[in-house]
Symmetry: C2
Subunit: 351 residues, 2 copies
């Protein structure tokens, strides 16, 4: 919260209203589903409802907790009005709906001026400290150990949903609080859907299977993709796989402090060569308390990578009718380049 | 979509921009994570991105699909500008952020006037048709069968996370696409947290355990809570349980077309008697494509229940230090009263 307070001057704001739950979690430790955090220079206040009375008392640090029986926005408005005088309050327009903003306006009254706080909290979150890095390493280990176990057991006849169930069961068995997003198990033609949901379709011989999954451990997310082939793959599939793997390794090798996110994306695309027209998404994204956060490794992104940032690297090619191949690792940006957190083997696997 | 078009006149709108993904799913079948649906009188258009090219082609009905390489909002703006003339576009301020609204304003240009479309789509969704009722019955059966299996196997020493893992594994094994929300397994003092997340804490003898879970099957959600005691319960716990069960049964008995949501809530509170001061949330909520939808069974809610609505009924009492008890069923409002979809026994269980 002190690092956020350092942004007040630049924003020309007297305080910051944090409404996005992962940002609240990051700043004061609260993990409930209803909260507003007002960060002032002298103190911070978390507004939540009666369901979270005990949980907030146990979790929150660095802020006093106000249980708001008549609504969070109303309680916040009361606090702002009591401060008196003209007040500039920063908030994040990407995390407040038009309806919520109207309610905030009404509750806060005419003396409050709202200031665009941009992604100030997200920028803080992008660079992980030592305790966060330790949690991210553990989350990467957890999903790698899970997939080391699940992949060899895959066979024709098992449904996509059964494989996903096995993965998510192991995540919790190994102490994770759950998957960091809906596990993707996409086989055959469905593997060409970059974001397919697992279905009751059974795996069949001579099919590609894309497995994309992550775990949440101590609040922090991992995200890893592997693609395997059931049976002996034709040369065309092997060529595609090899191109994707080379793109992954080249992009990871390009990662270091100071390089731009867009340059890493360009390396992946260039390495894919003629397959790059089948690469329909960006190369990666930041990872932490959320499974998608700053920075994005996309075309023309100018953000410079910084020591302590964590990103996914996940080139993929998708050919309708034939199938898709994606390989994804999580990496930390360190002084010596990319430290890779996900360790399940990447060699082409025919099972 | 035709039922939504009937609302245009009342809203004084020429068309409706649907941005909330479950609403898009409901209206045109698309289940991807990025979409904007423009419903016009003569036709409808779904804007999505290249990741969903194949999936949209397979899923979407009643709308043409536009893949928007330079952004959904920009493509939508182009369509609105091409229509020409002054145009009143309804949208939902509760589902559009301040930042998205600014982008929409810029893309659509000055000739578009935005109209508050309120919860027009949510109102349509609140009343389920026959095919939706069939899916909701199946989702209720799935979670009931899962819990019939999991509850007798609980014993001291197993962690909350392991029980949750078992529940979510069975949901997928039984063909569900996953849990409809993060499964709650809260034991001992943690059972007094109405929305506790499962932890690595082992279950212990002489503890209450609250189990709150749901499944998504064919896109539709169930949501059921049971509370059990590990060991022989003291009289005070038995008394609390009996009060909650009576409140559940009384509230279900009060449900019929024409009764107000607030009256059902009042019946639950009245039946809890002296325990009602420990009942810190509302009695229930609508259920369907989302696990929380219209109507809400809360204090002073004036919404009248209608045939075909589906709601949860879930009274609970939470006493810090002692623990919590909640029992929850899903019910359909029918001409003959409540049809109960969740069947796991509700008798007090000491295991």
């Amino acid at each position: 919260m002190d690092r956020l307070r350092l942004c007040f001057a630049g924003l020309k704001a007297d305080c910051f209203l944090v409404s996005h739950l992962p940002n609240i979690h990051y700043l004061c430790g609260f993990t409930g589903s209803a909260g507003l955090l007002l960060v002032e220079n002298s103190r911070s206040t978390l507004f939540t409802d009666s369901r979270y009375r005990f949980q907030a008392a146990e979790e929150v640090h660095g802020a006093r907790v106000v249980i708001a029986p008549r609504g969070l926005v109303r309680a916040l408005g009361g606090r702002l009005r009591r401060r008196g005088g003209r007040l500039k309050v920063a908030y994040s327009p990407t995390h407040v709906t038009v309806a919520q903003k109207a309610a905030l306006d009404a509750a806060a009254g005419a003396r409050v001026r709202w200031v665009d706080g941009g992604d100030a909290v997200e920028r803080l979150r992008a660079v992980k400290d030592a305790s966060e890095l330790a949690k991210m390493r553990a989350a990467g280990q957890l999903i790698s150990a899970t997939m080391d176990d699940v992949i060899p057991a895959m066979k024709p006849g098992v449904t996509e949903l059964e494989v996903a169930a096995q993965i998510e069961y192991q995540i919790k068995q190994r102490g994770g609080s759950g998957p960091s997003f809906e596990t993707i198990v996409a086989s055959g033609p469905r593997s060409a859907w970059a974001h397919a949901r697992p279905s009751r379709k059974p795996l069949r011989k001579n099919e590609l299977v894309v497995l994309d999954q992550g775990a949440i451990l101590d609040g922090y997310c991992s995200d890893m993709t592997r693609t395997v082939f059931l049976g002996r793959a034709p040369a065309r599939i092997k060529g595609m796989y090899s191109a994707v793997l080379q793109a992954l390794e080249a992009a990871k090798a390009a990662i270091r402090p100071g390089v731009s996110a867009g340059d890493v994306d360009a390396v992946a695309r260039r390495t894919l060569g003629s397959f790059s027209r089948f690469f329909t998404h960006s190369t990666g994204h930041g990872l932490g308390l959320e499974v998608h956060e700053m920075p994005r490794l996309g075309k023309d992104e100018t953000t410079k990578l910084d020591e302590g940032m964590i990103v996914t690297v996940e080139p993929g090619v998708y050919v309708q009718g034939l199938g898709g191949i994606r390989i994804e690792d999580d990496v930390v940006v360190t002084r010596r380049g990319a430290e890779v957190l996900t360790t399940t083997p990447r060699d082409f696997l025919e099972i």
